[in-house]
Amino acid sequence: MKKLAKYLIITVCIVSIILVGCQPEYSSKKINYISPNKQEITVWYHFNGSNINQRLKELADMFNDANPNYHVKMELVSDISTMGTLDKLIYAVNGGVPPDVVIVDRYLIGSAIEKGAFQDLTNLATKDNITKDMFYEFAWNDSTYNEKLYAIPFDTDVRLLYYNKQLFNEAGLNPNSPPTSIRELEEYAAKLTKQEHGEYIQMGFIPWMNEGYLYTWGWAFGGQYYDQQSERVTVNHDKIIDALQWLGYYSNQYDFEKIMYFLTREDYGIDAFAEERCAMMIGGSGKIAEYAQYYPELDYGVALIPTVENSDFITWSGGFGLAIPKGVEHKEAAFEFIKFMSIGEGATFFVDKTSHFVCSKKINTESKLIKDNGNYKFAVELLDKAYSRPPIIEGKMLWEELIYATTKVLNKQAIPNEILNEINNKINNSIDDNGNRWQNE
């Protein structure tokens, strides 16, 4: 019996060892404990859309796995793109507890630099051979002030005319020839608009919807917002006044209140284009990914934004940059992560997973996703010639004032040339003040 007991014990031991050894990997996710030897990198970010936010977390994990000496911690900071949150960053910098990296909307970089929030990255970039020609020019310009580089461009997009091929067919229009001039656009819009009991049930086009900012139309009408030589904004440019007048005219013609009601009716959804109640729309290239995910059935095409002259087609781009706030000690560590995100594996992952573009030309053109999707390909090729908002300290102010002017005109509360003159003076005065301050410093 003793012998038997011995056998049993041995057997049980063997079985236990084997079972423990064969335990499945319950969690492939590693818990990244921050060891004292690791350099922690805190990153502030905020994007609209939980998908992108989630991908950024995955990017941090990717970076941490590949770089055992560093540990990136992503912190979602609510609404970093508004002035209020910029204040938050300033407080953190002044208080001596800045994040190591900020993913910042590039049009805010000027304002942030003006408040002394970011470090000069020129030397780090030179050391790592990061040069202007690697990125789209506008993105590099957004990030450079007084010949100094303050951020490495991260992502970007372009504005396009989206049009619904199905609705074009129904209205007897050729689904393969979208409008190319403003006049054509108006004609098509009229044909594609339907009313029932005095209310719109389908609209051809709403110029100010989605990415139809005054910025878009000003450029499309042939205007310019900034004069490099005089370093002054030119918001009261004739063509911009024309554009704003056109918006006012359109609002009047179709009845602003009726359009607003059409877009906010309780029985309709939130995206009139995706729900095929609006035949055309100016939208960012990111919509391509959104529609692929949520509205895979939608039969649409993308085209250049129509212009007045039926030529000199334009688009413009925005996007985020990666900056290091002042007071960050381990600049090199932070810069490692910035490189990973802007020109490294992180950038490739970002393009493939979010279908956003990055500012690195090479990564965009080599992305499999862009190669495979015609709409993406069309969009990415526009990036080289894309306009961008003037990279000035008053970038944020300019943006907000243009929106203010637009809403006033749409509501028939202002006259375009008057309000644009007003804004122009206001911003140029501010430029003068800031210029004096820079010189004094």
Binding site: L4, Y7, L8, T11, I14, V15, I18, L19, C22, P24, N48, S50, Q54, S78, D79, G84, W208, M209, N210, E211, G212, Y213, E257, K258, M260, Y261, L263, T264, R265, E266, Y268, G269, I270, D271, A274, Y294, Y295, E400, I403, Y404, T406, T407, K408, L410, N411, Q413
Partner: protein, 586 residues
């Protein structure tokens, strides 16, 4: 034959060893499988309940946080209404605008605060770019058209679409509004996205969990898939059971089992519903099967090993017993099996050993009996010297003696002839007591001629005993002994008394003589020899007649029967033979 054949067929070729191994394998594998299945079921149930409760807890927290937030906004709106009335700022637009902008700035979650002035058909808004809007038709403004609820019937919170500052992208907003008499309406708007990010997003299971905020009519108010918002929750999702304040259930959606968890706010009547695929809750089935397979693959060789081990423990002693049995079959009765085990095999082994010993003894006894019988037969045959010739001769002598008037010779010859006829008989092993007594009489008749008339014999026998059968040659040798060793060796001795009695179930033969008797020493030896049948010390061959009788009687009738001798030297001997009163079948 048929039944036996069938049975043989079933077990043919399958040794008990294999049967035991197979049996143990089944016995060991079935519980393993059952345990595996049972544990999987138990784990699934526990996991499911735990997950559901975790999610429910998290949902309830979200609900409470959101309710608190919404109530707070509600109070702010009430306070604003009181301010408007009390501070008389209802016509001071600058002051009013300042007030609503201040409230908005203090709470970053507020999208906008709007005031509608009845008289002027004007909206004053906290919006940075759109502070005043003239309303042409109020029907174009969802929030103005919305009903005003009394506090008791509804929290007053509704969802609508609303434009942001830029008028470019409509947003979904939650709003609550109040009516102020002789003034207009006030409303606070909260962005759906803000609400979702700050109050509904579940940091746990961020990716796998899909959470919906649904109003009392089943309309989706909030979800991470923005295209779902505004749609009505299909009845497929909603269970009839969604009547409780909170619960969870399992629903089959598009062929996929989903764990549905919900909790309803008593403030807004909105239901928070989360769904998660069961496959994310439970262990991966393929993984489980893989583990079960692995466990079985590991336990199979162990089970076989153990089964062989166990069966060996049972088979080995059986095998030994089998071997011993074969030896016995060959005729070797000296086989003995030994074990140090204390279980049933010990008993079995001992039983086997005892049985073999007993068989051995029985065989020996039978052998001896046969041998003794043969010996007696031989003696008998020796006496048979052409008996017919002897009878004829004796008859001739008898008749010649009678013719010559030689009475004694005639009588003697006749008796002798009878004696031999009786004695030799027809070769049977058994005889009756009557015949035996007849033989004894003839014998004594012959002897009486030798000793004359003063030789007395007395035979007393119960009548009913005459027909009882007994072994042959057990009484007459005793009488012969009494004659040769007793009476003939003492002068004046002339008496033999034979009593045949029936005492209870026994027949007692008493043969007494008044002859020489046996010396004390010799009697002791004789008694010892008679009582110790196993002892073969009687090398001298003395008393062989008595010992022969004793052996045969004890072999035939058992140890309770047999001879007993009492004797006194010079006085006589008394031999008692005890036999059972049962007829031996002839």
């Amino acid at each position: 034959m048929v039944i036996g054949g069938k049975m043989n067929k079933t077990n043919k070729g399958i040794s008990i060893k294999i049967q035991l191994i197979v049996f143990f394998l089944i016995v060991m594998m079935i519980p393993t499988l059952l345990i595996n299945i049972g544990m999987y079921g138990l784990a699934s149930k526990t996991l499911k309940e735990r997950k559901a409760n975790d999610i429910l807890y998290s949902l309830s927290r979200s609900k409470e946080r959101l309710d608190t937030f919404l109530k707070d906004i509600d109070y702010k709106l009430i306070a604003l209404g009181l301010d408007i009335q009390n501070l008389n700022i209802d016509h001071d637009y600058e002051k009013l605008l300042y007030e609503i902008t201040r409230i908005k700035k203090l709470n970053p979650n507020i999208e906008s605060i709007n005031v509608f002035l009845d008289e002027e058909n004007r909206i004053i808004s906290s919006s940075e770019t759109q502070k005043e809007v003239l309303v042409k038709e109020s029907k174009y403004y969802n929030w103005l058209e919305a009903p005003i609820y009394m506090e008791k019937e509804n929290s007053g919170w509704l969802q609508t679409k609303y434009f942001n500052n830029n008028y470019n992208i409509p947003k979904r907003v939650f709003f609550i509004k109040k009516k102020i008499e002789d003034f207009g309406q006030i409303a606070i708007f909260i962005n759906e996205t803000t609400l979702r990010y700050n109050y509904m997003d579940n940091p746990i299971n961020e990716n796998e969990l899909n959470t919906f905020l649904i109003d009392e009519h089943g309309k989706i108010l909030s979800n991470k898939d923005i295209s779902m918002i505004g749609k009505y929750m299909d009845n497929v999702y909603m269970d009839k059971g969604v009547t409780k304040e909170e619960d969870w259930y399992i629903k089959n959606l598009n062929g996929e089992k989903m764990l549905m968890i919900y909790t309803t706010s008593s403030y807004t009547n909105w239901t928070y519903m989360s769904m998660i695929p069961m496959k994310n809750v439970l262990l991966d089935k393929r993984e489980v099967y893989r583990i079960i397979l692995l466990i079985n693959a590991i336990s199979l060789p162990i089970t076989i090993f153990l089964a062989i081990l166990f069966s060996k423990r049972i088979y080995q002693p059986i095998g030994e017993l089998k071997g011993a049995m074969k030896e016995v079959e060959k005729g070797n009765l000296n086989v003995q099996v030994y074990t140090c085990r204390k279980d049933e095999f010990n008993i079995l082994y001992h039983g086997f050993n005892r049985m073999i010993n007993r068989i051995k003894k029985l065989i020996q006894e039978l052998y001896h009996e046969k041998l003794l019988h043969k010996e007696a037969e031989l003696q008998n045959l020796q006496a048979q010297i052409n008996p017919h010739f002897l009878y004829n001769t004796l008859d001739t002598i008898h008749w010649m003696a009678r013719l010559n008037k030689m009475e004694e010779v005639s009588y003697l010859t006749f008796s002798l002839s009878n004696f031999y006829k009786l004695r030799l008989g027809d070769g049977k092993k058994y005889t009756t007591i009557g015949e035996t007594m007849e033989l004894v009489r003839e014998f004594l008749n012959i002897k009486r001629i030798k000793y004359g008339e003063d030789f007395a014999i007395e035979i007393n026998i119960q009548e009913d005993l005459n027909e009882v059968t007994i072994l042959k040659f057990i009484i007459q040798p005793i009488v012969e002994n009494a004659m040769y060793h007793g009476i003939e060796k003492k002068k004046g001795a002339n008496k033999i008394l034979i009593n045949v009695l029936s005492i209870s179930n026994y027949i007692i033969f008493k043969i007494e003589d008044d002859g020489l008797g046996i010396e004390e020493e010799k009697l002791k030896i004789l008694k010892k020899l008679l009582n110790d049948m196993e002892n073969e010390n009687n090398v001298e061959g003395k008393y062989s007649a008595l010992l022969n009788i004793q052996k045969r009687v004890k072999l035939k009738y058992g140890v309770n029967c047999g001879l007993n001798i009492e004797s006194q030297y010079n006085k006589g001997t008394k031999v008692t033979l005890k036999l059972p009163k049962t007829n031996i079948k002839i």
